[in-house]
Each structure stands twice: as C-alpha cells, then as structure tokens.
C-alpha cells in the first residue's frame, strides 16, 4: 500500500516524531511504500537544519532525511506553518529579506493542498500528534 504520515509534534518536546519514525520503519519493513511525510503544526520543527541533539540521543532530522535518501519518501513542510515558526528555505529567506536559511533539502516547503492530496490519493494517512 501507499502510506502517508502527518507529523504534528515537534522533536524532543513530544513523542510524536519518534513514534512516526518508528512507525515508518515498520511500514517499510512490511513492504509498503512510504511516499510522503507531511509536517504541520509544531511538526515543522523536525526540519530545523541546525538541530544539535546530544550525541547519545537519536538525531530526528537525520532520521527523516534517511527516509528520503533510502526510500524516496517526500518530506513536505507546510509553508504557512513553517514561516510563522522561522523555518525558511533559501528562496523564502530571500523573499522575506532575511540572511541565511533554516530548512534545507530534502525537506521542501509546500502548500497545505499537498496534505489534502496525500490524504485522498494515498491508501493510508496516519497522523502523529503532540
């Protein structure tokens, strides 16, 4: 089956992102296709490129990135939720006259319409909330 996940909790503050990654691995182990992870609400913080957790803790940003690199999972970050919370890619940073950026590929800023699309076009959408 084609799965999409919706992650709404920030890293470290709540278990949601941990649960989503554990579920993602189990989905893949059962030979489903994990096509999309959509980040909304505080879930967008999972795309913060400067996250520096202690070395004896899982690095959530890297774990999500690995889903993309190994399994081709698309990592979509709601642009409206991201901008409010300071998650900008280079293009948005330039558009808002800011130096630097806080979100990098393979995470991509997209509209909420892609969440609706994923929810209707994938076989399953599973949500992990804070």
């Amino acid at each position: 089956m084609r799965y999409a996940l919706l992650v709404q909790g920030g890293p470290y503050s709540r278990q949601a992102a941990h649960s989503a990654l554990r579920f993602a691995e189990a989905v893949i182990a059962r030979r489903h296709r994990l096509e999309t992870v959509f980040f909304y609400h505080d879930g967008v913080y999972n795309a913060a490129r400067l996250a520096a957790p202690p070395q004896d803790e899982p690095h959530l940003v890297d774990r999500f990135r690995a889903l993309h690199e190994v399994h081709g999972t698309q990592l979509k970050v709601c642009i409206a939720a991201g901008l409010r919370r300071g998650l900008l890619d280079e293009r948005e940073a330039a558009r808002h006259g800011k130096q630097g950026y806080s979100l990098e590929a393979p995470f991509e800023l997209t509209g909420l319409g892609q969440l609706i699309d994923a929810g209707l076009s994938h076989d399953r959408l599973i949500t992990f909330s804070p």
Partner: protein, 96 residues
Amino acid sequence: MILHTLNRSPTESRVYRQALAAMGPDDRLLLIEDGVQGALPSLVRHFGELDGQLFALREDLEARGLAGRCAAEVLVVDADGFVTLTEEADKTVSWF
C-alpha cells in the same frame, strides 16, 4: 472500520471521551505513547466495554515499565501489529 489512536492518559485528559464517542460499533482503539497508561487494570474501566477492540502498543508499555501490568482484556501489539491495524482499517484517526 476505523482505527483510532489515543496518546493521552485518561487520568490527565478527557480526550478519551471524544474518541469513545466517535467510535462506531466495529471500530478499534489503540493506546500509544502516554495513552498506554490507560491499559492499567485500575484505569481500563474508563474505556467501558470494548471487547476485542482495545489495543495497546507494546514498545510504549515496555519503555514505561508497564508491560507486565496490563489489564487482561487489552490486546498488546508491537509496531508491526500497529501497521497491520492500519492495513485492516479504512482509515486512522488520531486523538491527542
């Protein structure tokens, strides 16, 4: 059939009542994260009669030292079983 997930303990949050109110007769409820506390024998009564429809996630029970303390009527599943539940359900709704 809908799979509902719940990640809050019934001792702290009343969202479990919303989940129960929204459940159809064949729906299933899976306790995850802090929600697994609801599987304790003294708390499972909050979920009323959910014979064969109440599940709890093994990994979250184990992380909290609660794996051996579950009420008998709770069906314990691991992450693989969680995926199976989502396969079997038409859709999954998250209560938080």
